[in-house]
Subunit: 415 residues, 2 copies
């Protein structure tokens, strides 16, 4: 069975915001065996919404819509629903009580007519109560298709998906399992991998789909399958994974079920009861930010320093000025000294450092744009590696962050 | 005139990645007066791609497609193009030369047949040369609609958009101007604002569209319009902005043309030739990361410390242990001491600090999840403010980062 996700709002169409809601919804549906056939972003125009709803129900049994539920005039989803379902708006007492509760406890001013109007819902809909906001979710059926409308505010939508939509979809439809396994490889391009595993790919059972996901110097291979028996699917995928291990085991650096490398590395630190500190120059805090974005980071992350200016490396990290003068601030010895300095300061087991030039122009060093040294201090010593990360600032930074976690992963696995 | 953006790839539909390409493309089109009517993400299935191309050309004169151009079997865009345009693939010598160049200078291994096959393009297409990768862009026409295909790798797509697609679209079509002006407001909800400006909204000329964009404690109001004369549009929007200033001037905190607040604040620091340092606890490096993601940060950003563990605040920032014992680590005096400490260490004009509990569980303090203190040190002194940022970790962190920049903006504007 298939789903269509529709996000409504001009802010996506003019590029003012990136649509992250769809990815969240798609992931949750995938977990319960519902395949997403299409994601559409359209404007707040009634006719376009109706057209898209009609197109969606040709292909899909589940249509999920976010956005267009605010109290203001530019929000038209509910009225469009009435047109589409030939229904009319009625005030829902439960929703009204929820709005009153929110105003009493969180807003601290009297309700306005516009706020009360958010309690109006199509008479035939099942309300999905939104504890985090005044716009309710709605569940409606037409023929065999379920239409679900949710607010566009990400945290309201997420809570509604988890608490209301997913359990109801599980009850409403019998679904197959969808399973993915993703291999991370490093060191060869996708065409080269495809060449090596050509026979494997040609002999892949038709129920298993292979995808190549190239990104930032590595290629991920994703095997996907679906069916009624989870154990069988698991076995079938494992069998193919074993074949890939024989063919390209030398370049497989990890397995990944959509987990970010910083989460994988964080879990390793927690398991092994080791601690970490960071000293960042060209990555400017992004390694620390990636670590601390995840709950439980305080269990292993001691802290970090962002020494952006050269003199802060000398003054704060106590890097010897002579070392910088001799080797330049973007060099292996400086990367290593930075890692050792924060390891020592924070009394951590491991430390990682970055020094490089992310561009667009050259800074305090003659190093080419894209040159980055990453230093790793472990309980057994320190080393560093030089990388050429290209010339696009954003890309240099994100590749460096990624690479830092890869090196950390390798080291923590040894310890 | 309208455009339809189509992104191809299962990784978006299973939620493995967030589609950021569409937002970039939409923003670039908006700048040259092309309205995006719809963004669709669909799978690598030939039939679905053909259906979507057909639907798109009903409504739009420009259809932009990203993805599905790799050298591997799961990439079907080119073959689908041939079917759609009743064309066949031929080898393009220019593209072949580009692939050979990339292999010689960047890959360092011989080309495989799959790599050479990337030089195959539909015979009727105009090639858009991709200097950053082996998959070429393609430009084709059918009736009055232009179809443009680009690789899905973001930095390759971005370069093609900027260097090839936008200039060609400007030549091909005469377009109106599209203008947006966005006001940032703070302190009132969207329904309350809508109530205050009801008459204004009812009397808005039909050519001007008003949108409310609520996010993280603030509401942005966007006015959009389009037409043939840029100066007239500018005047019309300014006239309405002036009316809004009269009505809600007290809650307008800024103007915004889609610029991120960290960019706005960074520019203010550069203009005023002031410097900044940060001390982050609960934001874990995200303030520094947001600053340094932008080129030119080294002109004003001295650096930062991520003091995640309580004892690192004592040992590294030299915060008095007694202060922490008396007030708790999440408190106004500690936030202020942290800001002063990094201001002093980095010898910066301004400093910002965060200490709080992002959750999900309580840490080294009894403070409720969501309690955050932000400290601001200026050349004239130090102060701090307490915030309740809710209970969702991700949200607490991003609201705190945002708020830190807002407070900095207010202070730097005074100096």
């Amino acid at each position: 069975m298939q789903a269509h996700i529709i996000t409504i709002g001009d802010e996506i169409l003019i590029g003012q915001i990136v649509d992250t809601n769809s990815a969240f919804i798609a992931k949750e549906l995938d977990k319960i065996g519902i395949e997403v056939a299409e994601i559409s972003s359209i404007s707040d125009s009634k006719q376009h919404i109706v057209d898209t709803l009609n197109a969606a129900r040709q292909r899909c049994q589940v249509v999920l819509i976010t956005g267009g539920l605010g109290p203001t005039k530019d929000d038209v989803t509910k009225h469009t629903f009435c047109e589409f379902f030939k229904d009319e708006l009625v005030e829902d007492p439960g929703v009204l009580a929820n709005i009153e509760r929110i105003f009493k406890h969180h807003v601290g001013r009297p309700m306005l007519p516009a706020n009360r109007s958010q309690a109006l819902v199509p008479s035939k809909c099942t309300v999905l109560m939104n504890k985090n906001g005044t716009a309710p979710g709605m569940w409606m059926k037409r023929d065999d298709t379920v239409f679900i409308s949710m607010p566009g505010v990400p945290f309201e939508m997420k809570a509604l998906m988890t608490d209301e939509v997913i359990p109801r979809l599980q009850k409403e439809f019998s679904r197959p399992y969808i399973l993915h396994k993703t291999l991370q490889t490093y060191g060869r391009g996708e065409s080269e991998i495809a060449d090596t595993i050509e026979d494997f790919e040609n002999n892949l059972p038709s129920a298993i789909k292979l995808a190549y996901l190239p990104a930032l110097g590595k290629v991920r291979l994703r095997l996907s399958t679906k069916g009624p028996d989870r154990d069988v699917l698991e076995r079938n995928l494992d069998e193919q994974i074993a074949k890939l291990q024989e063919l390209i085991g030398d370049i497989i650096v990890g397995y990944d079920d959509g987990e970010l490398i910083e989460v994988v590395v964080g879990n390793l630190f927690k398991q092994k009861n080791k601690t970490l500190a960071v000293a960042e120059s060209c990555t400017g805090g992004q390694i620390a930010a990636a670590i601390t974005a995840n709950p439980g980071a305080s269990g292993y992350f001691k802290g970090g320093m962002v020494t952006y200016a050269t003199h802060s490396k000398v003054e704060l990290l106590k890097i010897d000025q002579k070392l910088i003068d001799t080797h330049s601030v973007i060099s292996a010895p400086v990367a290593e000294a930075m890692a050792l300095a924060v390891q020592n300061w924070y009394k951590s087991d491991f430390a990682v450092s970055t020094t490089g030039n992310a561009g667009p122009s050259k800074g305090d060093s003659d190093a080419d744009v894209g040159t980055v040294f990453i230093g790793i201090a472990t309980p057994n010593g320190v080393y560093s590696q030089e990388f050429k990360m290209g010339s696009q600032r954003e890309r240099v930074i994100s590749k460096s962050v990624n690479k830092a976690f890869e090196l950390l992963q390798k080291e923590i696995l040894k310890n």
